[in-house]
Symmetry: D2
Subunit: 393 residues, 4 copies
């Protein structure tokens, strides 16, 4: 039994996701195979399903789709969007902007609502665009925009759309489990999350909640467009899971073990408590960053995400050098910015396992020390005190 190759693993990862995950999840991943067509495995899946429904606060079943999160989001378009459908797409960041392509890919007549990437869309902007496009069929947006560490007002947007009969497609990959999501109460239609962000498990799945309205639309869209109804992108094969506990594909067994271990943590700690822990970690990080004299990237506290914090790179600092120093000397991996934000911001993830005061203090201490070392002195005393103080609230 010889390992010819093992990756170098950083001491701690607090990046845009995945971050370092729960040890309980890692332990669960090592469980031997249980064949997916046994009662034992089906019972495990049912239990995962119950936990996911509790997490999304829905009575529907959340689909455990295997593939990266973008798969679940593309499924939404494949099943809900017919050529010519007016689709409103809110773009407050890279992922939001990118989704317009998916909608267009399925023939959507896309109305873009774009705001700068350091702020969020307001409910007033949403109402205005809905007023201007009373024929809109679908509105899509990103709940938690990981690339810019911002959050859109999911509740207000979804309630507004629901009232108007516009279906919502919500990318909450880094939202669910870290921020409040009430699928049924808010009238959400499709909401996608991943196990590798706030749940603290491993990447490779797309967890997709689908409302009854969305199921209905899917049936019609597939029939009318003639899209392949057994496609990996089609929701319909998943009816067998919803209706009779039959997962349509060989499930990713080990990932299910990890997900279950993560959900056990969430259920035993409580969904509200886990969300509060993320909010606390975010508040502490922001307080610390500010008290250290640094600037947050997002314009307003109310628009900031619970799972990740974006910090403006101070003038005179090269973010590549900064992050390299953090990797090499401080054993802490964080993320840079994407696209136009490359070089302008760094992102510190506090999600799942890393959503803890200790991890936040570690990140602030290492980050501030690295800045000091690079000739940009910061007030660590104020930073750590502010973080601990914010966490105590």
């Amino acid at each position: 039994m010889t390992y010819a190759f093992r990756p170098h693993v950083p001491e701690l990862t607090m990046a845009s996701g995945p971050c370092s995950i729960y040890p309980q999840v890692l332990a669960a991943m090592g469980t031997q195979m249980v064949h997916h067509r046994t009662d034992d495995f089906v019972n495990l899946m049912r239990s995962v399903s119950d936990d996911l429904s509790a997490l999304f606060r829905t009575t529907t079943r959340v689909l455990p789709v295997e593939g990266e999160s973008i798969l679940g989001l593309e499924m939404a378009a494949y099943n809900l969007v017919e050529p010519g459908d007016v689709c409103i797409n809110l773009a407050s960041g890279y992922y939001g902007a990118g989704y317009a392509k998916v909608l267009r890919g399925y023939g959507g007549d896309v109305v873009d609502v774009a705001v700068p990437y350091n702020t969020s869309v307001t409910i007033e902007q949403v109402r205005a665009v809905l007023d201007a496009h009373p024929d809109a069929k679908v509105l899509a947006f990103v709940h938690s925009e990981t690339p810019s560490a911002s959050e859109n007002p999911m509740e207000a947007i979804c309630r507004e759309c629901h009232e108007r009969g516009v279906l919502t497609i919500v990318d909450s990959v880094s939202g669910v489990g870290g921020s409040d999501v009430r699928f049924d109460e808010w009238g959400v239609d499709v909401c996608v999350t991943g196990p590798q962000k706030c749940l603290g498990s491993t990447p490779g799945m797309s967890l997709v909640a689908v409302s009854d309205r969305a199921w209905e639309r899917a049936r019609r869209v597939i029939a009318e467009t003639g899209r392949y109804e057994r496609s990996y992108l089609c929701l319909l094969p998943w009816r067998s899971w919803v209706e009779r506990d039959y997962v349509p594909y060989t499930p990713p067994i080990s990932s299910i073990y990890g997900l279950k271990a993560a959900l056990d943590i969430v259920m035993s700690e409580g969904v509200d408590a886990v969300i509060a822990r993320h909010a606390t970690a975010a508040r502490a990080t922001r307080a610390g960053i500010r008290a250290m004299g640094l600037d947050l990237w997002v314009d307003d506290e109310a628009n900031m995400a619970n799972s990740v914090t974006a910090v403006a790179v101070p003038d005179g600092i090269d973010d590549t050098v900064l992050r390299g120093l953090m990797d090499d000397r401080y054993g802490l991996h964080i993320s840079g910015g994407l696209g136009e934000e490359a070089g302008r911001l760094v992102r510190i993830g506090h999600m799942g396992y890393t959503a803890s005061l200790q991890k936040v203090l570690t990140a602030l201490g290492a980050f501030g020390s690295a800045l000091n070392e690079l000739g940009h002195p910061v007030d660590l005393t104020a930073g750590l005190e502010a973080a601990a103080g914010a966490a105590a609230k």
Copy 2:
């Protein structure tokens, strides 16, 4: 740290796949996250890539697609089949028969070549259908038909098609790693396998080899059909991986760890040796089954798979009772038949970790004992002796 739920894990799984997997793979799955945009992870991926190329015996890169194996197979149709294309589909089992729907789903004009599910397609049949359809663009078949434990003559079929300029789509999910596959030499165009069969890792990925011809066709098909070129089903986003080591999606990190551990075993044992081990396990199982006076499902030794053996359920035995007894008293999970074969056959998997003489003897001993117990006496002495003898050859 509390586990509220853990599945009951059988002592041993020798089913249609996944079977019990290598302990080294299970250990590797517990490795902490390395962020996918780090050099460490990219180096790991490169190493996985080199191993996969060696396994498929190709100089091209095998794509580590995340999602069940059917995803990789559907990608083949999405990228290679235009509406109206004549597509030959060989159906010697459930999976083969099912693929006709995928081809039709993408507009293929499908020519079915069907044979009974207990035999294989012959090269003569293939030549005949190719002669009859000189305009065929694509020929698809299953290399190793897990549901009926049979194998089609991949080398002859692929060489024939390659000469005639017909692209091949090969489902070798339970073939690669257990039977010989020479992607470049045989002129294969798309070949899909999964980590959860002969590689002895965990399900959740589709490993897709693509020839230069297939890449070329894909570019044209996507352009001409207007199919969404950033779809999860589209091959083109994977060019970034092929050309500049950039995986287009967040990879399933833990599954990659498991796959690497499995490939380490294959590389250290040697590809030929691993295939020989599968062949030996299959030969031993068959010899044992026959010597116990039982019937194999597949008509001819030459058509039998290396990864799984199908045994005809003896008259008077209820396969549900038989398999339940094996689960409950013998701690060994095996599979039944699918569809029309339900109740008529049981399937014993000997793949990856379970492709060993010990595991085969365990399976034969438990299977024979269960039959004895159910009133169908078998000659275990002859069975085990024949198995051990066949393995010694």
Copy 3:
């Protein structure tokens, strides 16, 4: 993170102990450190303690001594034997015979009761020696003699000694958890077991039950002999654990995790059920061996151990060749004989994780196949049928 060295691990170990252990135990061993002076760890130790008391069926605390089992046995002599004390030592095997040296090492005036190593001491022999030595202070014996796979009648011996006021020292290293042990009811004084046999955990500890009488004697012996009262061999430092939950040394934290996981299995399955499982595995093994026409080493069914079975090596077979073949071709490691029995017997362990019908069939199948291969044909049909039949009773 690179492993420069990993051992080759056999597919299955069914030796004299340790054998292959429970996967749950292996998983638990990977838990991160909890400092031993925290409430969390003390609570874990208390829970282990409760389980051990339930296992030994005693209201006293079983001491979790760290060191090999021989340590616990030497502690018995250090604390209970004064120079000149008449000590009866029953020797029905290597371990029993060897203990005379320990008793003499502490000044004991040893009366040896020796029987051939393929049988057990009878209660009549014990009564006779007790009658002949009314001044005996201590009687020592091995409950389950692993080297010869035999068992002495622990209940009768301990009850007899208890009535006469003779303290008993019982080596039940491979007995507790596999055979019935009722520490309080039978009036045992010191009973030692290890986690690596019937409990299916990892070696490195000596689990020592001590009666009130033994504690009393220990206090007197230590005081009168002037033996170092803080020695690692002295029981007295362990009073802090008994009286106030304070383990006197840094405990072997990982081994405690493994032990707890093993005890969880025992408690959840039930002590009686686990013992019955061992008895079944032993019965099945013996029935199979006999039906294969082979000879058991121990003279009488009533004297055979539940945790291991000794088989006489057939004439003309070299046990080294036989065991080497089993290692190399069948992936199953079993043990040979010790001392004079080297070459004359092989031992198959069925303890803890390997005490299952499946593992017994695997062992019989591989063992019989290896014998066949070496030119000593055996009736596997009869063997496996007898084993399965014996298990069904």
Copy 4:
């Protein structure tokens, strides 16, 4: 497969030892059993042995004794001390003071050299006591005194004793692997360490290096005193390991796996580099503590240990409250003082896995934050800057 009980594991343990250990070690602990009488296991043990010799910088074999570290230290007295032997015992802390009892327990005529527990013994004091007792046979001392975080000048003391023919017994449980130890060059006679401190593995073993002089003395002492020569405390049974690779007891197999994984880290990083990493972590911790305006417990930088740092509890702070706050809010477990130092100091371990700048910053950040919270403001900016600066040197 259900865990009824799992301990709560703190996010991070930086206590007096064990601290949080290397993930590689945790992973290795989950390896299935390899029987100790197989070539595979013996080869593993030989490899462990080679690594241990390299670590202690000796050509002799270091004994892998199973049991807590105090066992190895008691073995030294059992084997080297005859009744009436003049034994010099240096006491600069709890462990050193306690060893006088062990020496007396074996009849030693002990000469105590005591210094306050916040300083170290000087070589001048050692010379003076050696001059005053030219008949001394043995000199014992603690290299790294974990309870007070101090270090005695091992090289000077051992060289001096070696020249005078006085045998040295060195408790370097928290020294080896963190501070320089050159067993052969310095003429040390017995040196004991444990896997659970600077090696970053799990507790449960005593690693004992023995010089030729010590082996010679042991043979004579055992013969002359009539001590039981097969005792668990006797060195002589270990000759079988030294001379012919035969471990005299069933080894703690899983602990050996963990130890090997830890030694792989040491060997691949290099012994000097690992020691330098400990020195750096210690220097950084001390610089940070001082810059935060707090007092170190030990009188002089030169006397401070590499593996742990003792901090004087500031006036007005209750150490129980402080450590409880760190446990509960900061997820970091550290140790308090022992005996008279209880309440007066806290101890932060930086050993093995926790000997890293990141972990030191985490500890300083959490510790300072907790003090702030309790109304004792500290200068974290200065503290973290000083720590990072000291590490950069």
